[in-house]
Symmetry: C2
Subunit: 431 residues, 2 copies
């Protein structure tokens, strides 16, 4: 098989065969197909797409480029959640312990943040000592013991995805449904879970700008998961405002701890609610409950009882994290409203970029994160705003980073005379 002919075939809009896709991925993973042919193929896929059969073949080839996790020693239903990413999106830290507390295994393999969206690993690593680089044996052992464990991608799982993702990032080929689908699903299938809840976000802070696009992506992702015999549901949720009170790694851990300790604050409401809704879907997927309502009740009980907090604390301990040593930053400035009215619009991507400028996030994979930097949100969509009210607090240890971030943040919200009527956290659940 000639790589150039395969590129040409896709360029001309034809579907690739399973053998052709397998050939490309295998040769690329072992380094015999060069980056320049892969990037040309990725761009051709960007323009010409892939049908469901091709996308499934691509997922399969990427999945088989490495090892899969043997979860057979976990007797019972195993479920994970994947979010397409957003700002302040910290639900994993809550739903892992909540669902584990309801007797369902949640073995989570997470990624790092890139661009304006955050990553679970970075949040956890803001806890001093927390080790996300566990062996797979330890990963299974901890999950068996307390029901959940959070680790990072290992180099043995889907190596093709790692290589391709790095290439997509520098060749403007990230925004492609089949490439996104195969990347997400190959990793999730490699984890060996039985069920998967997808949190597919739309809005100004999401990859998908509209609910329709998010739904389209969700259906494609679900088709692949179901093709592998997995139970998959999708929650289509809004990223039209940052989730909850904080964005920034240590700050987000703090927010989750507060929620798990039952501290109530309206600014926490969305984080708490989305975490419980996703938990309910995860629990219900296991077949343990007769309705989502019942599953939601189980999840909420687990949270309110303090069991989720206990499991989270235990997980930190088992993964060498010292929760009591969590550090916050020493400097802050406030950004205030120039006018009165209602906060009706956030440009969440711009907020994410401000986060990068504060070093709470990464522009490139090689960037070093400041775990104590962050942005605090004092107003949410439809909050009344009086001139002079604080909209954001910028937190960090290097005050000289505030200036540029503040400029971005100044442009990132709009105050108008009246409320908007159509804001909702969860748009739809696809089962």
């Amino acid at each position: 098989m000639l790589a150039a002919e395969i590129i040409k075939k896709k360029r001309n809009g034809h579907a690739l065969t399973e053998d052709e896709i397998q050939f490309v991925i295998t040769e690329y993973t072992k380094g015999s197909l060069p980056d320049y042919q892969m990037s040309a193929l990725l761009m051709a896929i960007y323009f010409k797409g892939m049908d469901n059969v091709e996308t499934l073949s691509l997922t399969k080839a990427m999945l088989h480029s490495g090892i899969t996790v043997d979860t057979s020693s976990l007797a019972g239903f195993k479920v994970d959640k994947h979010s397409t990413g957003g700002v302040g999106d910290k639900t994993s830290l809550i739903l892992g312990p909540v669902v584990a507390g309801c007797g369902i295994y949640v073995p989570m393999i997470s990624g790092r943040g890139l661009g304006h969206t955050g990553g679970t690993l970075d949040k956890l690593e803001s806890i001093p000592g927390f080790n996300t680089q566990q062996s797979l044996e330890n990963f299974i052992k901890i999950t068996r013991e307390i029901g959940t464990c959070f680790i990072g991608q290992t180099k043995d799982i889907c190596p093709a995805d790692k290589k391709i993702y790095a290439l997509r990032d520098v060749t403007a080929t990230v925004e492609s449904y089949p490439l996104i689908c195969a990347s997400i699903m190959s990793k999730k299938i490699a984890e060996g879970v039985d069920g998967l809840v997808l949190d597919v976000k739309y809005g100004s802070g999401a990859f998908m700008k509209t609910a329709e696009q998010a739904e389209e992506l969700a259906l494609k992702l679900m088709a692949i998961g179901q093709g592998y015999g997995k139970k998959v549901v999708s929650v289509i949720s809004s990223m039209d405002q940052p989730l909850g009170r904080f964005a920034g790694n240590a700050w987000e851990v703090f927010e989750c701890l507060e929620i798990m300790k039952n501290v109530r604050n309206p600014l926490y409401d969305e984080t708490r609610e989305l975490s419980l809704q996703l938990s309910a879907q995860m629990i219900h997927l296991s077949g343990k409950t007769n309705s989502i309502q019942e599953a939601y009740k189980l999840a909420e009980d687990c949270l309110v009882s303090g069991r989720a907090f206990e499991i989270f604390s235990k997980m930190c301990e088992l993964q060498s994290g010292k929760l009591n040593d969590l550090k916050f930053s020493s400097q802050k400035i406030e950004l205030k409203a120039d006018e009165s009215g209602y906060l009706t619009h956030f440009n969440v991507e711009q907020i994410g970029v401000a986060g990068i400028l504060l070093r709470a996030g990464r522009r490139q994979t090689s960037d070093i994160i400041h775990p104590t930097s962050g942005i605090e949100f004092h107003k949410k969509i439809n909050s009344p705003v009086a001139k002079g009210d604080v909209i954001y607090t910028l937190h960090g240890d290097e005050a000289e980073l505030f200036k540029d971030a503040k400029e971005y943040l100044q442009q990132s919200f709009r105050v108008t005379p009246s409320k908007i009527s159509n804001h909702q956290l969860i748009k739809k659940v696809l089962t």
Copy 2:
């Protein structure tokens, strides 16, 4: 400037600025922009195109990636011809000496054959000893002395084009108007000529399958040349049959020598006529004549008088080629017609592929050519054919190569009960 952002801009269908194009080409030439970003950009250009301003910027950037030829010591009009390529397309060998014999300089920098189309350098190098790797000083000296000289691309002229062309070849990004235009025109402008005649071919053996596509390409090429203040005309000519009697390097030289020696054979007619028509355009571009007819008369006189043959012989001598030592192959087989009627259709690309199988051409730049291999055409479009008539003779020194080539050739022509009416060598001249 970030290469990934430039790729994204083109991918999204926006025009690139001159600075962006300059940045990409400069960085790529010096190796700081990697192949994988260039190939992604090339694929984006394949899909989204480039407008005339962008194409001119690309040509300029590629031109300035290397040196240009200083032709200032050639006092008088300097003209070149470029053909988009075909099978048996050997007119350069005739028109160079013809136009030079009319007092106009023809400094020709030519390429090698790739794929099903032949290259002037390969034809000349079938003459034992012929050295196409002259220094630029010698190139100008020989041109000054006898009016014409044929050399190959040097590494100093348009190095960006060389690097990009090699990449396009393996990433399915050859067939793109702006990329074709910039590649051709940057090299031709670097040659320092005042005028250029483009032989833009269409048909089953050409890159452009229809006359309309050829005309579209011609207009784009002309716009760039004119943007550089060059006089440019385009001849839109048919590649619906191989040109003349032979395809294959030594055989094509032989055909040109026969024509320059005034041997008349109906199988030579198209080669002779196209060479004279292109010569006439080149002569007329110089301003030496009042009409194309007058220019054609000058060209034909030069050919018939034997002056063109003298100049060609002299050029071989000055470039160390021993014309009298021209060798031909020892083996041949014939391919005969199965039915009677008229030959009305050639699949010229397939004939070119048969030529590659005989080693008369290259599939990859690293392939070694057999200069004595070739295909002889006994019938042309609208020739009457009787069952058992010879259609092709395959020539070569390795008889074991004949089998595969013959299979291709068997599928490469069609005999039908009646003639076709619409075959013409030159469709149009664009001035």
